[in-house]
């Protein structure tokens, strides 16, 4: 991780006014580069052939996953949260993450998390698997589901 990445050094000075606010913002903020350069670059390579729309979809999925991240980690080997770690979730059997106490319903579901199954589960988890403990995170919009699944697939591929 010592490679200096070839990103333009962007220096921004934000001069905040003197404020009586209990928690003032920065007096000076030097942004050397934006985060996520390496992971994004990998993902971008993977979808480059699909052109711009795929990478836009990926970005949308990443943004949408912010809500999921309150319960789910995505990095390989990361600790389970209120929900299981989702690394490599696409194509995996339901209830397969070790150390996570799934509901009996989910364990017994026999589902493989294909994109189709993920799509219907994310639309309404309790309808797909009655008794699941995933009580939050349903995504009503089909396009957003597609984006999240695309993100899960690309960002957590084995």
């Amino acid at each position: 991780m010592t490679t200096v990445r070839t990103f333009a050094c962007l220096t921004v000075f934000l001069l905040a006014g003197c404020s009586a606010d209990a928690a003032p913002g920065p007096v000076e903020q030097i942004i050397v580069r934006e985060p996520g350069a390496a992971p994004v670059a990998t993902a971008a390579t993977a979808v480059a052939a699909d052109g711009g729309s795929a990478s836009a979809l990926l970005a949308e999925g990443k943004a949408a996953f912010a809500n999921c991240a309150a319960c789910h980690t995505i990095e390989k080997g990361a600790t389970n949260g209120a929900g299981p770690n989702l690394f490599g979730i696409v194509g995996k059997a339901a209830g397969a993450v070790t150390g996570f106490a799934y509901s009996d319903a989910l364990k017994a579901s026999g589902i493989i998390w294909t994109a189709t199954n993920l799509d219907s589960y994310l639309a309404d988890p309790a309808a797909k698997i009655p008794g699941t403990t995933m009580v939050a995170g349903a995504i009503a919009e089909p396009a957003k589901r597609e984006a999240v699944i695309t993100y899960l697939e690309s960002a957590t591929a084995n």
Binding site: E28, C71, A78, T133, V135
Partner: protein
């Protein structure tokens, strides 16, 4: 980081719940008895529901005990675990009253959320002028209020958890759940409830030979009204309380799976290192970040006004880049202050107050008359330094501010305060902030402050992505909320028989608890205790046993000096002062007897005794010190403690031992000093901890002196250790120690 669901399948695992996970539990807990604030129609506390429940699922949120279909009893604990064993002790109290099978008891930490329980609900129950501790009636209402207070304040400290939350809320909840289960069984079996017994999570009827697990009647019990005043056990019927049950948090801490605040993992998270202006009140005038900008991994460099932060891909990268930044700081009025100047300032204020000035804290009898009649007068002045907390886990916090929401991860003694601090820093409403609490790698009062939460949230707000801020040990040492330094002056009068007749004390600083400088248990005809407020340079905060940490040393040193002036030994003199208080005497006598008080010791060895009641518990310690070397070697400490009733003897004994380790560290080495307004210490080389070869052997005797009035365990073991050791040094060498730490003194 939440790490919840292991609690439902593995014994010995402790769940940490986010609000969302907690709701989930409510949904899946199909056939469950849940006793708590969430109630059903006809229940005497039903009017709480609209205040608490925003939606269907939230009706279950205020549960503090739950029985599920697998006959698992889950205790919800509204306190944080910082190594003191509170999860286990509180669960024991609930489980015992419920007659639960200890092997089938699970523990959850309550979620940090004021939506569930708030002060307004507490006020709804009580006249506003009635203080919570005044409630001694074991009623469900009182218990709920206690829990409401505990959760609403959500503070863990003051040695409060067992003696207040446990004694009133957890026990009452357990007893109520048991009575509801029995009532449900009586109804189904058509037998009188009085003929039904319970044990090990089973319900039994001897006459018919029927026996069923709790879970069988969980649903039916949930239909029962909450008993208005459930019957609590008397001590002879305790089966789990008073037993040395194994700690729930230990297995995870041994196998490494325990999650502390510093372990938080958030996708996309970056790391921040921070350095605050070294003098309190100063700001960053300018910074030269030219080198830092080119260093590997660096993402952002921030001048936050009062501190500099570097955000990078990794913590090490952030800290290295931070180290390269040269900052210039504004002038502060504290710039010239040093240690001697501060104590000189204390002396000036004390001199000005004289014999009658200052703020009177307590006055009994006629002190002037007492001195006039005294045959012997004793005077002494004592000093103690600033102390840092030096928690094993350095201060840290992970924050993520985005889209009008904020998530914060840390380990905090007051999670609701932490959440509020994050909301203020993010400029968001309280309800848009989610606070995720984790195990605390040491608290000692340091983690009741929220400066780390505020800083991390401000950084995360500036970056827009999640940031884990970790303080270096240097920052941790130099930017603490310190135990204040203080000076205390005493005058004492003894009559011709060597009996104490007057006591006059004036000291700097008073914080909490207010009784710390007082000695109502000592039978002295007249006493007068005053304070002067002197501004100190540094931020101060609670430190294990708070003001007792200073006054325990002051008072017990002076009592020893009076004993010496009276020509008596410290034990005999204290016995006279405690005459008429059999419970106090028993503690003192027990410690003395254990130590073989009065028996011969090797040359240059000495025994010292100290006696400090604090936080509702009475503790006496005898220290045996070897002064044959260049520095004091504390060989053995004998402890007698009476906290009323010991819920978990193993846990309580561990608290006595750890308080001695912490207090002895301070007595031997602990000192934060200032030069030019800056803290001079930075790490363990100049702020040393007690080493394992310096730890004395500790022998603890526990006394159950009053099972109705429990005392705390986390702090009361600390105040007596410093004076026990310095009194022992006096016994061995004739040298009286009036200023800590001992490392300032030469014993060659």
């Amino acid at each position: 980081m939440s790490k919840n669901n292991t609690a439902t399948d593995k014994p010995g695992k402790t769940g940490k719940w986010t609000r969302r996970a907690f709701i989930g539990a409510g949904v899946v807990a199909g056939s469950a008895l849940v006793v708590g604030v969430a109630v059903r129609q006809g229940n005497p506390i039903d009017r709480l529901s609209p205040l608490l429940a925003k939606g269907e699922n939230e009706r279950l949120l205020n549960a503090w005990v739950k029985v599920d279909a697998d006959n698992i009893v889950t205790a919800v604990i509204p306190h944080v675990e910082m190594g003191q064993g509170v999860y286990t002790a509180l669960a024991q109290m609930l489980a015992d009253e419920m007659d639960a099978d200890w092997n089938k008891v699970r523990i959850l930490e309550a979620p940090a959320d004021m939506q569930y329980v708030s002060d307004s609900i507490a006020r709804d129950f009580l006249a506003p002028d009635l203080d919570v501790p005044a409630i001694f009636e074991p009623t469900v209402t009182g218990g709920i209020l206690e829990l409401a207070q505990a959760m609403g304040l959500q503070f863990t400290g003051g040695s409060y958890s067992v003696r207040a939350t446990g004694q009133r809320a957890m026990r009452t909840a357990g007893a109520a759940a048991r009575e509801m289960l029995v009532a449900a069984a009586a109804s189904e079996w058509q037998v009188p409830a009085g003929e039904i017994t319970t044990a090990n999570s089973m319900i039994l009827h001897a006459g018919s030979g029927k026996s069923e697990p709790f879970s069988k009647f969980a649903l039916a019990a949930a239909e029962q009204s909450l008993p208005a005043k459930p019957t609590l056990k008397s001590p002879e019927n305790y089966t789990i309380m008073g037993q040395p049950k194994a700690r729930h948090d230990i297995p995870a801490k041994v196998d490494g799976s325990a999650v502390f605040g510093i372990d938080a993992q958030v996708p996309g998270m970056k790391y921040a290192a921070v350095r605050a202006a070294p003098v309190v009140g100063a700001t960053i005038e300018s910074m030269d970040a030219s080198a830092a900008k080119t260093m590997p991994g660096v993402l952002q460099i921030l001048n936050m006004g009062d501190f500099v932060a570097v955000v990078a891909d990794g913590y090490w990268q952030a800290q290295q880049a931070l180290n390269s930044i040269d900052a210039k700081y504004s002038k502060s009025e504290g710039d010239s202050l040093d240690q001697d100047a501060l104590f000189a300032r204390y002396a000036t204020h004390l001199d000005e107050a004289g014999d009658d000035g200052g703020d009177m804290e307590t006055e009994t009898g006629d002190v002037a008359k007492g001195f006039a009649s005294a045959a012997i007068k004793v005077e002494a002045e004592y000093k103690v330094p600033f102390l840092a907390h030096a928690t094993m886990e350095p201060m840290n916090c992970t924050a993520w501010v985005r889209d009008g929401k904020c998530d914060v991860w840390s380990g905090h003694q007051a999670p609701v305060n932490a959440r509020q601090a994050a909301a203020d820093a993010a400029g968001l409403p309280f309800e848009d902030v989610t606070y995720h609490n984790a195990y605390l790698g040491g608290g000692f009062g340091r983690r009741s402050e929220s400066d780390n939460i505020t800083m991390a949230t401000r950084i995360a707000k500036a970056t827009g992505y999640p940031v884990k801020m970790i303080w270096s040990r240097e920052e941790d040492t130099a930017q603490d909320h310190y135990r204040p330094s203080a000076t205390s002056r005493f005058r004492g009068g003894l009559d011709k028989d060597g009996k104490a007749v007057s006591w006059d004390n004036i000291h700097t600083h008073l914080f909490d608890p207010k009784d710390a400088p007082t000695v109502p248990y000592y039978n002295i005809a007249s006493h007068k205790i005053r304070k002067v407020d002197v501004p100190t340079q540094l931020r101060f905060g609670p430190w294990r046993s708070v003001d007792h940490s200073q006054h325990g040393f002051f008072i017990e040193s002076f009592v020893d000096e009076m004993a010496d002036a009276a020509g008596k030994d410290g034990y005999t003199f204290r016995r006279e002062l405690l005459a008429g208080s059999p419970r106090h005497l028993k503690v003192l006598d027990t410690a003395a007897k254990m130590s073989g008080w009065g028996s011969a010791l090797p040359e240059k060895h000495g025994r010292g005794i100290a006696f400090v009641p604090s936080f509702g518990s009475i503790v006496a310690q005898v220290a045996e010190v070897d002064m044959s070397g260049a520095k004091p070697k504390v060989k053995k400490v004998y402890v007698a403690a009476d906290p009323g009733f010991v819920i978990n003897p193993d846990g309580f004994t561990a608290q006595m031992e750890s308080a001695i380790a912490y207090g002895l560290t301070a007595a031997l080495y602990g000192e934060i000093t200032l030069k030019d307004g800056k803290v001079q210490q930075s790490n363990f080389h100049d702020y040393p901890m007690l080493r394992i070869n310096e730890m004395p052997e500790v022998e603890v005797a526990l006394i159950n002196g009053d099972h109705k009035h429990l005392g705390g365990g986390g702090e009361p073991g600390l105040p007596p250790i410093a004076p026990a050791v310095t009194n022992a040094i006096f016994a061995a060498t004739g040298k009286r120690i009036r200023e800590l730490p001992l490392s300032k003194h030469s014993f060659a």
